[in-house]
Amino acid sequence: MQTKRSKYLPALAAAFPYTLPIFAGFWFLGLTYGIYMNVSGFSFWYPMLMSLTIFAGSVEFVTVNLLMGSFNPLQALVMTLMINARHLFYGLSMLDKFKGLGAKRFYLIFGMCDETFSINYTAAIPKDIDRGAFMFWVTFLNHMYWFTGSTLGGLLGSLLTFDTEGLEFVMTAMFTVIFLEQWLKDRDHTSALLGLTLSALCLFAFGAESFIIPAMLAILAALTLLRRPLERKEAQDDFSDHN
């Protein structure tokens, strides 16, 4: 039986290198997010507390927009559910991996942002390293990178002397890259194209303020209708890979 100390220290050593790219990314995005909040008229307390409690980068950018619009808590909830719906599937993929980890599970689930999920899901954890401790460190380190970066951005924002007009494009650039990465990973692009075209159509039909929910429903309906052909094609692709 390992003691607590000897279990957590090697796990930290094993987890830390995996999180280094995330450190660079979260500090860059966190700083930008903090600065973005600052130039939008919010003190550093906002990015500090929001990065700690929400810990979902893309939604936090969206929340800045929500705070600057009119008060609409229901829309805030629905928007968050829609944007973060993908996390439902992260959870599904981690059901087995989080099994038997006790109370630690709550923090692991709370802190499962995209980056933390992708490390914990794909990392080849060495046999002699405690799995739960490894995943705890990945989650905690990423959480702290985001928290410190955002807070620092909120503090530094007021010191900036250059014109920040156009900084908000960072959000568009971020989602473009995420979309592109997913595109390069997929062999079939039906879903990606559906997402773009159905959303654009709904934006045209319902307008900027209310297109998100119809777009999400349209995407779900289309994917449900296309399930058979898409699954068949996926099976064929897998088959040809093995031959």
Binding site: F28, L29, M50, T53, I54, A56, V59, V62, T63, L67, M68, S70, F71, P73, L74, A76, L77, T80, L81, M82, I83, N84, A85, R86, H87, L88, F89, G91, L92, M94, L95, F98, I109, F110, D163, E165, L167, F169, M171, T172, A173, F175, T176, V177, L180, Q182, D186, H189, T190, S191, A192, G195, L196, A200, A208, M216, I219, R227, L230, E231
Partner: protein
């Protein structure tokens, strides 16, 4: 600047926290045992993300007016730039930073 009262701001942020936590905890509440999720749910898990990321790109562009002003040209140029830069170097941060800087330059100096 925000026009919300501090209470309204706290409620808005609390809603975002609640929404995020629902999406993260729900699978563990629905499937706590050894049950594997239904095949339909697994199918969505594989195919939905690509569509949602597409939706988010469109969401970012929701306030761009393609019929007037600069006709969305700075946005389209910069998105194309982000894509090319990313295909070339495959460095996420470089692509994001490059696109954002180009956009700021275009907006402040050209359009």
């Amino acid at each position: 600047m925000t026009s919300l009262t501090i209470t309204e701001q706290i409620i808005t942020v609390a809603m975002v926290v609640l929404g995020t936590m629902i999406t993260r905890f729900l699978p563990f509440l629905i499937f706590p045992t050894d049950k594997t999720p239904p095949r339909y749910v697994q199918y969505l898990g594989r195919f939905l993300p690509a569509a949602v990321f597409g939706l988010l790109v469109v969401y970012c562009l929701r306030n761009v007016n393609f019929l007037a002003g600069s006709h969305g040209l700075p946005e389209l140029i910069c998105i194309a730039f982000v894509v090319l830069l990313h295909l070339w170097k495959r460095q996420m941060l470089l692509s994001i930073a490059g696109g954002t800087v180009l956009y700021m330059l275009l907006l402040q100096l050209v359009f």
